[in-house]
């Protein structure tokens, strides 16, 4: 299947370290991964549960001005207009999936709001992301980017068909505006052009 022009932002950025240490005086070091240590960061009382933990962590170690995007009202829901067994389903994931020949996502502190277009029949999925254990997921990319699984569902008739393109982001995007004003709307237009009935979004 032919590959469309890629939509990329900032792919020429230098690659940064994964969760670099920015230790405050007296902060305790806690093992957080095989690759790095991060200081123990108290959760922000401003947000509940892991939202507070992640907020404080990102601001401390990677992006000091990070803020959650908070909305008062839910976005409107559009009902599926045909049975799932007849629907064209598209996958949109934030696992940092890309193909050989496409640039990997940036792993710098500033994140990467770009996206990659993945043909539905792609077999060799690669992964690049700062926020999860990528080597583990590489053993079975379906755990974070279930393109092969959706192909099986289409072949078995559980869904009508798989859309011709899946769209891949890398979910660490501390400054969300480029996602909101550029990459997100562009992918929405492509999904509509692809005649998609249902979009399945998968985080990591």
């Amino acid at each position: 299947m032919a590959q469309r022009e890629e939509h990329r932002l900032g792919d020429d950025r230098p690659r940064g370290p994964v969760w670099p240490v920015a230790r405050a005086p007296g902060a305790q070091l806690r093992r957080s991964s095989r690759r790095s240590f991060v200081p123990e960061t108290p959760p922000s009382p401003q947000f509940a549960g892991f939202a507070g933990v992640e907020y404080a962590h990102v601001r401390r170690v990677a992006y000091p001005s990070f803020e959650w995007r908070v909305f008062d009202q839910p976005s409107p829901r559009r009902r599926l207009e045909r049975p799932i067994e007849a629907a064209r389903v598209a996958l949109v994931g934030t696992a940092g999936a890309f193909l050989p020949g496409q640039p990997a996502f940036s792993r710098g502190d500033d994140g990467d709001p770009s996206f990659r277009e993945i043909p539905a029949d792609a077999e060799r999925i690669r992964l690049a992301h700062v926020g999860y254990d990528v080597p583990r997921a590489r053993k079975d990319p379906d755990v974070v980017f279930p393109l092969a699984l959706l192909r099986r569902l289409a072949a078995e008739g559980a869904i009508g068909e798989l859309a011709p393109w899946a769209y891949s982001f890398m979910g660490y995007v501390p400054e969300a505006q480029p996602l909101l004003s550029d990459g997100g709307p562009e992918v929405a237009r492509r999904l509509r052009a692809d005649g998609v009935d249902l979009v399945l979004l998968v985080p990591t």
Partner: protein, 99 residues
């Protein structure tokens, strides 16, 4: 942060009148973004659909999401699909002790 990115993308797609359904592993973040319909799966980060190689469980998660997408829910609904995890990896991730 993936949970926010997915929610923001979903809001955009909703605005373009696409039918959508997402997975979330962190409902407290999804509640901030309020996309139209999300399915909560209590799986670790990086193992959204289940353990590596567990094709049956991965399929059950996707099947359930698709079934919810075909159902009737008010905008902003987060459906708990009832999937849990057998060890403490997710809990350690939520404390930033593992990835």
């Amino acid at each position: 942060m993936c949970q926010q990115s997915v929610g923001l993308l979903q809001r955009i797609f909703d605005g373009y009148e696409l039918a959508t359904v997402s997975i979330t592993q962190v409902p407290e973040i999804t509640r901030l973004v309020k996309p139209s319909l999300s399915c909560f799966v209590a799986h670790p980060f990086g193992l959204t659909l289940g353990p590596v190689g567990d094709k049956a469980l991965q399929r059950r998660v996707v099947d359930r999401c698709l079934r919810e997408a075909a159902g009737i829910h008010p905008a902003g609904t987060i459906v708990d699909l009832g999937f849990s995890w057998s060890d403490d990896l997710r809990e350690r991730q939520l404390r930033k002790e593992a990835r």
